[in-house]
Amino acid sequence: MADDATRRAFLIGATSLAGGLITVLPVTDARATPETMQAAIKKVIGSAALRKGKVTLHLPPLVENGNSVAMDVAVDSPMTANNHVRAIHVFNEKNPQSNVVSIRLGPPAGQAKIATRVRLADSQRIMAIAEMNDGTFWSDEVDVIVTIAACLEDPV
């Protein structure tokens, strides 16, 4: 009986070990996920609160070609020495990397308004965050539908 018990214990141990090994297998995905976007945002804002407002992020709601998408960000701020935007950060959910662009500016800008062209790998949510000189963070989000993806396709 004692032998049987050890055999059973051994088998149970072996199966749970195998099960353990299977679950430990790494799940690799080349793409950023909403979680990695949150992590990238955390890196910038730290423990500060993120509030909605002041920022206007504009992207076309439907994009035919993700290789070049016009994007503009404007932040409502007088841009004076006492009240200005210190930085604008843009993040994405599903490109291989969560960061899109990080901009530093100050009172010499006169107006916190920027425009550029971005790549989008998939239909996703884009978020712009503005850092004010008083240490507060404001954000805006836009959902974009992309029909032809960028970044991952191979050259022909």
Partner: protein, 106 residues
């Protein structure tokens, strides 16, 4: 030398907010693509763009692979004095380019 296009008004009134548009020809290879034999194409992007107005930094952008090829950046600045506005792009593989324009402020 990459070709750069810069649009700055030649003349401005003092205190006026001017719009600066810049575009530089660069492939902005993401580093996430593969060639026809499956080999990874190394990343080659512009990582930073800085604009200085008479020596004072007015705008700085850190670029990531999510910026489209031929980076186009538009921003604003207050016309304070006549002088030189300088633009500098730096990136992978020791990419560095500087351009400048003159502005007259009345």
């Amino acid at each position: 030398m990459a070709r750069a296009l810069i649009n700055v008004p030649a003349k401005a009134k003092k205190g006026e907010i001017i719009t600066i548009k810049t575009l530089i020809s660069h492939e902005m290879e993401t580093g996430y693509r593969h060639d026809n034999v499956g080999k990874a194409i190394p990343r080659n992007i512009i990582t930073q763009f800085v604009c200085t107005y008479n020596g004072l930094e007015v705008f700085r952008a850190d670029l990531f692979p999510a910026i489209a090829a031929n980076p186009f950046i538009t921003f604003q600045t207050v016309a304070t004095a006549s002088g030189k506005i300088e633009f500098k792009w730096t990136g992978d593989n020791d990419f560095a380019q500087t351009e400048s324009v003159n502005i007259t402020v009345e």
